[in-house]
């Protein structure tokens, strides 16, 4: 039962990562990210209930606090302050990105079939799902032009890594997990400050206009 639930939440996270590719508004992207993080926290909570590891409860709570409340709050603030066009511009249009995401997911399942996952694992199918989320996150960072959607791509990718971490290994040790949360949080804050600086120097947050430094 729990295996089913954990896999279900993992699959929903992958689905939301794909949905992320189809969103063309920054506000919507942040909301999708928020929902994905809710699923992730619930999934961690379920794993915690099964394995009765106290650390996972804390991890789930921290995940909820940072990724559902703090980071989206900060990102909404940034979007509000920038006020520029909220449309997301991309190098590859939505239809093609969605088609490409199919290839990504097939690839993720293909390489995880090659590795035998042995030992005690709560949900085996989580591994390809999380690989899919990671690759879609990277793809988002590369195919989007707006600085903010690149940040969301990074966060999506990080969610995928956390999903793999908790379901394969029942979570990393507590100190490491807190450190990772801290780094991601500070990284997003600093990237947000950089978005403001890009806005003031280039008068847009379109990173394709940042093209002075090349050979």
């Amino acid at each position: 039962m729990v295996k089913f639930l954990v896999e279900f939440f993992g699959a929903m996270s992958l689905f939301l990562a794909v949905a992320q590719l189809s969103s063309n508004r920054l506000n919507l992207s942040i909301k999708i990210y928020q929902l994905q993080s809710v699923f992730l926290s619930t999934s961690i909570l379920f794993i915690g209930i099964v394995s009765s590891e106290f650390e996972l409860y804390i991890s789930s709570f921290l995940n909820f606090l940072i990724k559902v409340i703090l980071i989206p709050f900060f990102l909404f603030k940034v979007v509000e302050k920038i006020k520029l066009d909220r449309e997301i511009s991309m190098y590859l249009n939505i239809t093609n990105s969605l088609l490409f995401s199919i290839l990504i997911i097939i690839f993720a399942f293909y390489i995880s079939n090659k590795i035998n996952i042995t030992g005690e694992v709560i949900a085996k199918q989580i591994f390809p799902l999380s690989l899919g989320i990671i690759f879609i996150g990277i793809f988002m960072m590369l195919s989007r032009k707006k600085a903010l959607s690149q940040i969301i791509g990074f966060l999506t990718m990080e969610n995928g890594i956390l999903l793999a971490g908790t379901s394969l290994t029942k979570g990393m040790p507590m100190i490491v997990e807190i450190g990772v949360f801290f780094d991601v949080f500070v990284g997003v804050l600093m990237a947000g400050v950089l978005v403001f600086q890009i806005k003031t120097t280039v008068e847009n947050i379109d990173t394709s206009r940042l093209s002075d430094l090349k050979e």
Partner: protein
């Protein structure tokens, strides 16, 4: 070790609240104290099996990381001396004093995170610290707040974050393979624990983890297809920071890859890791050679040269014989010293001419005579001309790779090195020769560190201190060298 790290962290915070004039000198004092403390720790290590533990096994020191540890301490000491003159010049050029308080804060935070990277025994904490180096330097890269600097900062934080996130996935796979043997908890991420049970781990999973870690930390080292942030970041950062990033940070990232490789070599799975390292090494040398030839910005040129040297080091470790690993570590030390010296001399030119364009600078010999001497010597040193020590280490690397039978990669490497030599000489002679009516003032403080470093490099080619030699000779056994 805890004392050194703690001192550095406290000083990073305190320096933010002190008067800048006071910070200049205390900074030198702190880095010097750390250097002494660090050396006294290192002198306790004699055998490959010697490990010093601290803080509940979270920090440790053995022969491999004591070399990188020593490099961090030495280079940050010299950079602290150099920073005084550099900051004074930039203050004169009209940059507000407040920015330099940020500068000192972030620089000390940067040194702190690098110390944690090398001393940490735990892969999780190592990852956190490497991400920390990215965060600590992001605001130093866009220090000048102009369009190029902001662009470089953005690329830096985004590309490195992707890379490091991939490395985190690799580390999770590592943890997954080790916790079935070592049990759940912090101890199954400790390098020493994993190393001791490495033969019991699942080899395929380890290999997958290694690939993720190599690509991830390889982004930070600047391996070829992942290097796009590197020339931007190294050319836009203030020059003392460029020196720290090129000479030390790249080594720290490479050191993390070596730690993972050591486990896989001891796993008995074979030496497949070497193939990947060699691929990245040769590719990076070739690509950096091509970019060095057609470069118009001298700081970018030096950034590409850092990529080249890291790739040569990776090549040396991929050959994986006793001689080649000796040469690789030797080259790592030499590169850190000489690259810092050349960045420092170039910084003196940049603060006088205020341009990074190679072709708009002419007649350096007349404008800055002493700096020019340092520059020409550093150029010869970095391209591997005798009598400087980089010549010796490059020679050892090539001899060892020919001996081990890697004929074609070695020939490609040699051709690329010739191209790089030509590119360096062409570009820098262009700047040095010619006529000019400009004449700038030269400071003693800005010239002293590069000359001292060059002298160290000269000495190192004839004489390596006994202590360092012992440490270097211990490293092949730790890394699990093939044989002979």
């Amino acid at each position: 070790m805890g004392v050194i790290i703690g001192l550095q962290l406290i000083w990073a915070v305190v320096s933010y609240f002190l008067n800048l004039r006071f910070v200049y000198f205390v900074q030198i004092g702190i880095t010097f104290i750390n250097l002494i403390l660090g050396y006294s720790l290192i002198s306790k290590i004699n055998n490959p099996q010697d490990r010093i533990f601290e803080l509940n096994n979270l920090l440790f020191l053995d022969s491999l990381n004591s070399i990188v540890f020593l490099i961090i301490l030495i280079i940050s000491f010299f950079v602290s001396i150099y920073s005084i003159a550099y900051v004074k010049r930039e203050l004169k050029a009209g940059i507000p004093e407040r920015n330099f308080k940020d500068y000192y804060f972030w620089m000390n935070a940067f040194i702190f995170t690098m110390l944690v990277v090398v001393l940490s025994n735990n892969f999780g904490i190592l990852w956190i610290a490497i991400e920390g180096t990215t965060l600590a330097t992001a605001f130093l890269v866009n220090f000048y707040r102009n369009k190029e600097a902001v662009e470089a900062g953005w690329k830096y934080i985004m590309l490195c974050s992707i890379g490091i996130a991939l490395a985190l996935f690799g580390i999770i796979l590592f943890y997954y393979s080790s916790f079935s043997v070592l049990g759940h908890g912090l101890q199954s991420l400790n390098w020493t624990n994993i190393y001791d049970v490495s033969s019991k781990l699942n080899s395929k999973l380890l290999m997958l983890a290694f690939i993720f870690v190599l690509v991830g930390f390889g982004t930070k080292v600047g391996f070829a297809p992942l290097h796009f942030w590197l020339p931007d970041a190294h050319s836009q950062a203030p020059t003392p920071i460029s020196a720290l990033m090129s000479g030390v940070l790249l080594n720290c990232a490479f050191y993390s890859i070596l730690r993972v490789q050591a486990i896989i070599n001891n796993n008995g799975y074979g030496y497949d890791t070497s193939k990947y390292l060699m691929f990245f090494g040769v590719l990076t040398v070739v690509i950096s050679a091509l970019f060095i030839i057609r470069q118009v910005d001298y700081k970018r040129l030096l950034a590409y040269s850092s990529m080249e040297h890291m790739a040569i080091i990776a090549f040396a470790f991929s050959v994986n014989t006793k001689l080649s690993i000796f040469a690789g570590v030797y080259h790592l030390i030499n590169h850190a010293i000489v690259k810092t010296s050349i960045f420092m001399t170039v910084g003196s030119i940049l603060t006088s001419f205020h341009t990074r364009d190679i072709f708009s600078i002419r007649g350096l010999f007349k404008a800055l005579p002493y700096t020019s001497v340092a520059l020409i010597l550093s150029v010869f040193a970095i391209t591997g001309t005798p009598p400087f020590s980089i010549f010796m280490s490059k020679l050892f690397i090539l001899i060892s790779s020919f001996k081990a039978g890697f004929i074609i990669p070695s020939i490609i490497l040699m051709l690329a090195l010739v191209l790089i030599f030509g590119g360096f000489i062409y570009h820098f002679l262009n700047m040095l020769m010619g006529d000019t009516d400009k004449r700038y003032k030269e400071d003693l403080l800005i010239l002293l560190p590069p000359f001292v470093l060059l002298f160290i490099s000269l000495v190192l080619s004839f004489y390596i201190p006994e202590k360092i030699l012992i440490l270097i000779n211990n490293i092949p056994e730790i890394l699990g060298v093939k044989n002979g």
